[in-house]
């Protein structure tokens, strides 16, 4: 499905991101966060393939982020914190997944929402542990033992995010192409038929859920290491809504969609917030409404259609 377009766009997009990050140091920060969020949205995409929408996925992102914030004072090594963030995200995903994989549609969404709000409330209320709404500042990090200057550290984080984005993108492509991935679409259309064929739907969904939680945890660790400050807001339901927003904005048709969506989202937000501080949310909402009503395939859908028309 549009293989050359996907590969070409991925290479082109990565190059463009590097160029922009080089030209404007501050946008490098914004783009690193966008790439990190894109990884989390990639997880949302998997569930969307199964027709399920999680309105609480920010809980995994927050888990990864708080893992980094909690452990950094004792163990400042970024290259260990990153996999640990992913690991804790995955572990929570497994526990929650065993429970929510039994539910479908609106109940699936609502349960995810409720569980993420439980996490949010705990992060907000257990002040002695989490410093409440103020959040925790992430202590100084080391990279392979070295403590690089700020400028270099920003580049390392950007490179890590870009590398992981490409890696997870390829992984998700391969997974969606595999029988396990194909079965996800079966859950969306006719789940019972899937089970008649002997495929355990619950296990298929659970696997996708845990994988998406792992990506959420990774994204959270990246966000924490980039912004160097974590707050409970990361787990609030509107943050989860944003992730689903980005998935639809980018388009669910390709593993590139989440990253197209995340970059577009962050740039619209940044420029809208700078221009009209009081109405940036309205602009984002308008964009989302327009995409759903007039271009349900998202940014990826628009690009793919243009490519096809030309070819």
């Amino acid at each position: 499905m549009n293989r050359p377009l996907e590969a070409g766009l991925a290479v082109l997009g990565a190059a463009a991101l590097v160029l922009v990050a080089w030209a404007a140091p501050w946008l490098k920060f914004v783009l690193t966060l966008a790439l990190a969020k894109g990884i989390a949205v990639l997880g949302i995409l998997l569930l969307l393939r199964a027709g399920q929408v999680s309105f609480g996925h920010a809980m995994f992102l927050a888990t990864g982020a708080y893992t980094v914030a909690f452990l950094a004072p004792e163990m400042p090594e970024a290259l260990l914190l990153l996999p640990l963030g992913a690991l804790f995200g995955t572990a929570l995903g497994l526990v929650v997944g065993l429970f929510v994989a039994r539910y479908r549609d609106i109940f699936f969404g609502m349960l995810n929402l409720a569980l993420s709000m439980v996490l949010y409330s705990l992060l907000e209320k257990l002040y002695a542990l989490t410093k409440g709404t103020d959040g925790i500042r992430v202590a100084g990090l080391t990279f392979a033992g070295a403590q690089p200057a700020r400028e270099i550290q920003e580049w390392i984080m950007f490179a890590l995010a870009l590398g992981l984005a490409l890696g997870f993108g390829l992984l998700v492509r391969a997974y969606l192409g595999s029988p396990m991935g194909q079965a996800l679409a079966g859950i969306k259309t006719r789940e019972t038929r899937l089970e008649f064929m002997g495929v355990p739907a619950r296990r298929v969904l659970l696997f996708a859920y845990v994988l998406s939680a792992c990506m959420g945890g990774t994204a959270g660790a990246l966000v924490a290491m980039t912004s160097r400050h974590v707050t409970p807001q990361l787990a609030y339901w509107t943050s989860s809504g944003e992730l689903v927003f980005i998935a639809i904005l980018g388009g669910a048709g390709s593993a590139l969609g989440p990253f197209l969506g995340a970059v577009a989202f962050e740039l619209v937000r940044v420029y809208a917030a700078a221009q009209v501080a009081d109405a940036w949310q309205m602009i984002l909402g308008g964009v989302l409404l327009a995409v759903i009503l007039f271009a349900p395939g998202g940014v990826w859908g628009i690009l793919a259609a243009r490519f096809k028309a030309r070819a």
């Binding site: 140091p25 946008l27 002040y127 409440g132 103020d134 500042r137 970059v263 577009a264 420029y271 940014v299």
Partner: protein, 437 residues
């Protein structure tokens, strides 16, 4: 298409902002800039905006005044306002944007203690002089060294200790107390200090309720019921802004003010909005000495002009965040003047600017403030009892005590909570006499 467009715009934007950055950077010899850019973090939305917006108005008024008088060192000043309300993680991004994208020369941060705790380490990293213009948490300078950060007003320890001493003098026989503070750094830290000081100076007070409603909560009816039922002699609340207004309204409607003596160290900024709803006879503070009825201001003409100008323009009295903003601006003027003089008229780089602030003394309309070697400012505190006069349509203090900053501030190098634990009752004897007001 959308995407291609945004990316093209982004690159265009990047190119311009990149060049801006190079122009505003601090590399090499310092050229006098075309304008002095000041990043200001304040609440522009949410319930705390009742603090943030008046402070922003005061800043705009004073910046205009400065520019009319020829700017700072001949350079016009320009504010860049940033909203604290969307949260700490958003604010650290905005701080980076101000430094890396807008190329600001100095930053004022912030109202919330949470914001300040997040921004000060950034000032170390980005080597950008940052004036903590309103937040109160004592942890900033007690838990770390921040060579680029300075607080141009008082802070938690004196702002808690002064009302505590006042209460001990005014109502020495109270036996039970309840606390209701906002659930974030300031609410928690101020209670920890109060508790340490109270246990040292008056052991055995029973704490009947410790309530920490969410910052920005809008309904306190359950909390008010609980306070009514537990009948404490004293209710302490260091809450501020819209939260305090809502709480006082709901408490006064249900006659809680008749049952308990309130201690409200941050009341000043909410009294105008409360008007006659505020009850008389309760302990009120202003996080400093800037009351409208200050009994003996250092520069009465300057105080009168500031209040009159502000009232003429915004049709309300300035509240203490306006004074804190004015203090930060006075400090900025004095700091730049000192740095420029030290360089023989040349424009200071980031490090030279920061050095100028250490030990700096600057005048405020009500007194003068010195920045200690750790960066903390020493500001006097006035505490009194709420009363109504013919002069103001809202409560003001009477029986005011002016606490000298040095008496109620934690000595450099000590931690406030530990210091409070070592207080001895004889500190009450040092308290200046009350002024009727």
């Amino acid at each position: 298409m959308t995407h291609a467009l945004t990316r093209r715009q982004a690159i265009l934007g990047a190119a311009t902002s990149g060049s801006l950055l190079f122009a505003g950077g601090n590399a090499g010899a310092q050229q006098k800039p075309a304008e002095l850019k000041v990043g200001i973090c304040t609440f522009l939305s949410g319930s705390a905006s009742v603090f943030g917006v008046p402070a922003k108005q005061a800043a705009e008024m004073l910046f205009e005044e400065i520019n009319k008088a020829g700017g700072i060192g001949g350079v016009p000043v320009r504010p860049y306002f940033v909203d604290e309300a969307p949260g700490t993680d958003h604010l650290v991004g905005e701080y980076r944007r101000l430094v890396q994208n807008e190329g600001v020369h100095i930053i004022f941060a912030a109202i919330s203690s949470g914001s300040c705790l997040a921004c000060t380490p950034l000032s170390d990293e980005m080597k950008k002089t940052t004036l903590l213009w309103d937040c109160g948490t004592q942890r900033i300078f007690e838990e770390g060294n921040h060579p680029y950060a300075f607080r141009t007003q008082g802070y938690g320890a004196p702002e808690v200790l002064a009302p505590l001493l006042y209460l001990l003098k005014h109502k020495p026989d109270f036996r039970s107390l309840a606390v209701i503070n906002q659930d974030y750094a300031w609410g928690r830290d101020s209670w920890e200090m109060w508790k340490a000081g109270m246990d040292a100076l008056k052991p055995g007070v029973r704490v009947v309720a410790e309530l920490f409603p969410r910052l920005g909560a809008t309904d306190y009816s359950t909390e008010v019921t609980r306070l009514l039922a537990s009948r404490p002699d004293v209710i302490l609340s260091t809450s501020w802004g819209g939260d305090l207004v809502t709480f006082v309204r709901q408490a006064s409607e249900r006659r809680l003010f008749e049952r308990s003596t309130f201690v409200l160290p941050v009341a000043e900024a909410s009294l105008q909005m409360l008007g006659r709803t505020m009850a008389a006879g309760h302990v009120i503070g202003a996080r400093g000495d800037h009351w409208n009825n200050h009994p003996r201001p250092k520069d009465p003409a300057r105080l009168a002009k500031f209040v009159a100008d502000y009232r003429a323009r915004f049709n309300e009295y300035p509240i203490y965040p306006c004074h804190h903003m004015a203090q930060a601006i006075s400090a900025m003027q004095a700091g730049f003047a000192k740095a420029i003089a030290a360089k023989g008229g040349g424009w200071p780089n980031d490090e030279e600017l920061a050095n100028a602030f250490r030990g700096l003394t600057f005048d405020t309309p009500t007194s003068s403030i010195t920045l200690r070697e750790d960066g903390q400012g020493l500001e006097d505190q006035i505490v009194g009892l709420s009363t109504f006069t013919d002069r103001f349509p809202f409560a003001v203090p009477k029986d005011m005590v002016i606490f000298p900053a040095a008496m109620v501030s934690t000595p450099v190098g000590q931690k406030s909570v530990e210091w409070m634990k070592t207080l001895k009752p004889d500190i009450l004897a040092q308290m200046p006499a009350a002024i009727a007001g």
